[in-house]
């Protein structure tokens, strides 16, 4: 379906490639580390808290979430899924988790990294770091890994206040405090496990770099509000993991994001768009169909520019941490900001789903989207739960229509580009209709 050979309608950013390369490097480094007998962690994305601590303690980290996506893209997933199925894990559960469980099972049988594992595979972990963020799978999956791995597991907690509750007096304080104490307990656990002490000065430095990395990355995305939008979602997806997975020294990553900022800024100043003719500006909800990204070129040929994505993959709203000195508090504030950064505005308009649901309303307004592309994932509840609400709210409050095309995270065949294009053509008529409706309502775009 993809037409990669043909000249692409989407012009990619040059500064994206080195950022994308960081992820590939992550796996090599982990394998090297484990060969040298250095500690390796399998991590859930933990929104920097655990990452900075691991990095300070010289623990190499890989992220099974990302690795399962890799397995899917390389076609290695079906074998791992079959293994997890035959080991009795219900098939309706997270495809990433089932893929990873199958991988771990095979690694246990072989006593080494399965030979056919893509990207050199994930080495046997010294520890597992999970998080209670967003979905139950994050900790149940790693707990279930105990069947195949003897590595100890630590679960990092993350507070999930409701919008109203988050505004109550003292709530922010005890949530931040909770995060800080959680990080302290994790450090104690690590020090015991690795038999070495935490280097607090180094931690402070890495924390500051991480904060800066997120700030610059946020600046890059701010530039995408320009018409035409200079940076397509494909470039976002290629460069987002570098910060989300903390694939390298945050100093290096920050520098690369800064270069990206300069390139995008130049395009904005010269009114250069990511696609030849921007007829429609769209937001994309949740994970893309990794395997058929070429499909976005076909949409680009029709004048579809994807200008913003899910809140969940974006850096936190900027927050002033100059008054916070303790590194653990600084990181706790950043992580908490990532989760609750939109709550204040959500509270104002009485939008009770302050993350996932509400940010889309702000994004669609600020990035002036004509529509949103919703991609429900069959085995990922977290990426799917909120989409109906988003669809409903966008229509009721902003008269912005949604295009729904089902897919999955590992069962790649589920996403049908032909079907998507068929819907897309019709959707253009719908987007034009609502442009006039929004005008009548006096909305800006």
């Amino acid at each position: 379906m993809t037409d990669e050979k043909k000249k692409r309608a989407i012009s990619r950013l040059k500064t994206m490639y080195p950022l994308r390369a960081l992820i590939d490097g992550m796996y090599e480094q982990a394998v090297e580390a484990s060969k040298d007998g250095k500690p390796v962690a399998w991590c859930m994305v933990n929104w920097w808290g655990g990452d900075v601590i691991l990095r300070t303690m010289d623990v190499a980290a890989v992220y099974p979430e990302d690795y399962s996506a890799v397995c899917a893209a390389f076609g290695a997933a079906p074998a791992y899924l079959a293994r997890s199925d035959s080991d009795g894990f219900p098939t309706h559960m997270c495809g990433y988790a089932r893929n990873c469980l199958g991988y771990a099972a095979q690694m246990k049988d072989l006593g080494e990294i399965p030979p056919e594992a893509p990207m050199g595979g994930m080495p046997k972990p010294t520890l597992l770091l999970s998080s209670g963020f967003f979905c139950d799978t994050r900790y149940k999956w790693f707990q279930a890994l105990g069947r195949y791995l003897d590595a100890p597991l630590w679960v990092l907690e993350m507070p999930h206040p409701g919008v109203k509750e988050s505004r109550m007096e003292g709530v922010r304080e005890h949530n931040i405090n909770f995060l800080v104490e959680e990080l302290r307990e994790f450090i104690a656990f690590l020090e015991h496990l690795l038999g070495k002490k935490m280097d607090w000065d180094r931690l402070e430095e890495i924390v500051d770099d991480t904060i800066e990395m997120n700030r610059v990355w946020h600046q890059v995305n701010e530039l995408r509000k320009a018409r035409p939008c200079p940076m397509h979602s494909r470039d976002f997806w290629s460069s987002m993991p570098a910060s989300l997975y903390m694939a390298a020294d945050p100093k290096v990553t920050t520098d690369l994001y800064q270069k990206m900022y300069d390139e995008v800024k130049y395009m904005v100043d010269n009114h250069i768009g990511a696609i030849p003719e921007e007829k429609y500006r769209l937001a994309f909800a949740e994970l893309p169909p990794w395997h058929s990204l070429g499909f976005f070129n076909q949409l680009a040929e029709r004048g579809w520019n994807f200008v913003v994505e899910s809140w969940a993959y974006h850096p936190p709203k900027p927050i002033d941490l100059s008054k916070v000195s303790n590194p653990l508090e600084r990181i706790a504030n950043l992580t908490y900001q990532y989760f609750s950064g939109y709550f204040e505005d959500a509270f104002k308009v009485g939008d009770w789903w302050g993350y996932f649901a509400h940010p889309y309303l702000e994004f669609v307004k600020e990035y002036q989207c004509d529509g949103i592309f919703l991609h429900p994932l069959l085995t990922c509840r977290t990426a799917t739960n909120h989409l109906l609400v988003v669809q409903d709210q966008l229509m009721r409050k902003l008269k912005v229509p949604s295009l729904v095309v089902e897919g999955d995270i590992v069962d790649l065949k589920l996403f049908d580009p032909a079907d998507a294009l068929r819907k897309a053509e019709t959707f253009e008529e719908t987007m034009s209709h609502y442009r006039t409706v929004r005008k009548e309502m006096g909305l800006a775009w």
Binding site: D87, G88, F89, P90, H92, M93, G132, F134, C135, D136, T137, Y139, K140, W141, Q143, A144, G146, R147, L149, D150, A151, P152, L153, V155, E157, P159, H160, P161, G162, V163, K164, E165, M168, G170, V171, H174, N175, F178, E181, E182, R184, E185, H192, L193, W352, W353, G354, F356, A357, P376, T379, R381, T382, T384, N385, L387, L388, V389, D392, Q393
Partner: protein, 391 residues
């Protein structure tokens, strides 16, 4: 405290047939009714303020239509059913709702419920996932927040005395439920699995004092009656996702087994741990509702052996040991593991739990269903074959 004079099990059946009947009557008398989801909202705090706790349950026989507009089909059909009933106005009589972070979808649904059903009072308790010291401290803070919103909603002060009183009554209920479950130990059991579930559902539909009264009636009735369950070859324990409808257990018992024990949330899970009366009552409550409640949604630390490595079997023992004890105490010869489709927290447990049960030599079978009476039909053959295997 009963209407139409009906007592004990017959009253239980009445309530099971028409759950909301009693609380609606209480509402007419000016009481306020608060709906709650699953077993993590701290009910003592409602009772202490003279609010009637009423558990949000689903309806297996009602097709889900309205919920499709706000909850996708890939989430737990039980919570979809609850949301569906809400959207259809079946819970309009509630004065408010309290939901906790029982599982991911419950947490999301707390927000969705607020958006679409705009209850006068709504509170969300972000129950932590671990039992770390930090998590226990956080849980107490969360209960303080809950206290604040309750006080401003009722305009009453939630004093330590009131709370202690409420804890006593709820502990009483827990003791009485234990007593009832004791009556399932003889062979044949004095009370059937279907009857027990009906009692459990009734308890979620009444003020705690009335529930206690009802339990006393049921216990004495069951002790005296002659026409209890008959002797059957299989004594089963049923584990897993919430069961709030007798259909499944009725099917199992009709095939030729006695369901004598359960580990589900409208059952032993909700009652088998007491609340310790602590100087600050919130301490005891925070501890019980986070640490003492045993459900897969709570992550429990694995014990590290000297090697710093984790031992799988020890881990299983820590997580599932209590089921082994149940099996011994209730003299169980088979376990039915059941989970709803898309129920992650139970789904992930299955292979490990099967490993554990295999180790202690307890026959078991895993059943998956989609919370609809019709979907139970295909399970019939599995259950019967399972009984043929163990019988």
């Amino acid at each position: 405290m009963t209407e139409a004079g009906s007592q004990g099990l017959s009253r239980v059946k009445e309530i099971y047939q028409d759950r909301s009947h009693r609380v609606k009557a209480l509402k007419a008398e000016g009481k306020q009714v608060i709906g709650y989801y699953d077993i993590y909202p701290v009910l003592e705090m409602l009772t202490a303020l003279d609010l009637v706790p009423y558990r949000l349950l689903g309806d297996m026989s009602e097709p889900i239509t309205k919920a499709d507009t706000c909850l996708p089909t890939v989430v737990c059909p039980f919570i979809r059913s609850v949301m569906d009933l809400g959207l259809k106005g079946k819970y309009d009589f509630l004065d408010g709702v309290v939901m906790a972070h029982a599982c991911e979808v419950a947490e999301k649904t707390a927000h969705i419920w607020r958006i679409y059903l705009t209850p006068a009072y709504a509170h969300f308790i972000d129950t932590p996932h671990t039992t770390h010291a930090a998590a226990q401290k956080q849980h107490k803070e969360l209960l303080k927040d809950f206290k604040k919103t309750l006080e401003s909603f009722t305009g009453k002060e939630l004093s330590a005395e009131r709370l202690e009183q409420a804890i006593r009554v709820h502990n009483q209920q827990r003791t009485l439920v234990r007593e009832l479950y004791e009556l399932r130990k003889p062979d044949p059991p004095l009370v059937s699995g279907v009857e027990t579930l009906q009692v459990m559902v009734a308890l979620t539909s009444l003020p705690v004092e009335e529930g206690n009264e009802l339990l006393r009636q049921v216990i004495s009735e069951v002790k005296q009656r002659k026409d209890g369950p008959s002797l059957r070859p299989a004594r089963l324990l049923i584990w897993g996702s919430v069961i709030d409808n007798i259909a499944l257990i009725d099917m199992i018992e009709n095939i030729g087994a006695n369901v004598v024990m359960d580990d589900t949330s409208v059952g032993s899970r909700a009652y088998f741990s007491q609340v310790e009366l602590t100087e600050d009552p919130l301490d005891g409550l925070a501890y019980r509702y986070l640490v003492e409640l045993k459900a897969p949604r709570t992550f429990r630390e694995t014990v590290l052996s000297e090697t710093g490595k984790k031992d799988y079997m020890t881990d299983l023992e820590n997580r599932f040991g209590y089921l082994g004890d149940y099996a011994k105490e209730w003299n169980v010869n088979g376990i039915i593991l059941q989970a709803m489709r898309y129920c992650d927290i139970h789904g992930y447990e299955v292979p490990g739990l099967k490993d554990y049960l295999g180790n202690i030599g307890l026959p078991n079978i895993y059943l998956e269903h989609d919370y609809s009476e019709a979907a139970l039909a295909p399970l019939r053959t599995r259950v019967q074959a399972f009984l043929e295997v163990i019988g």
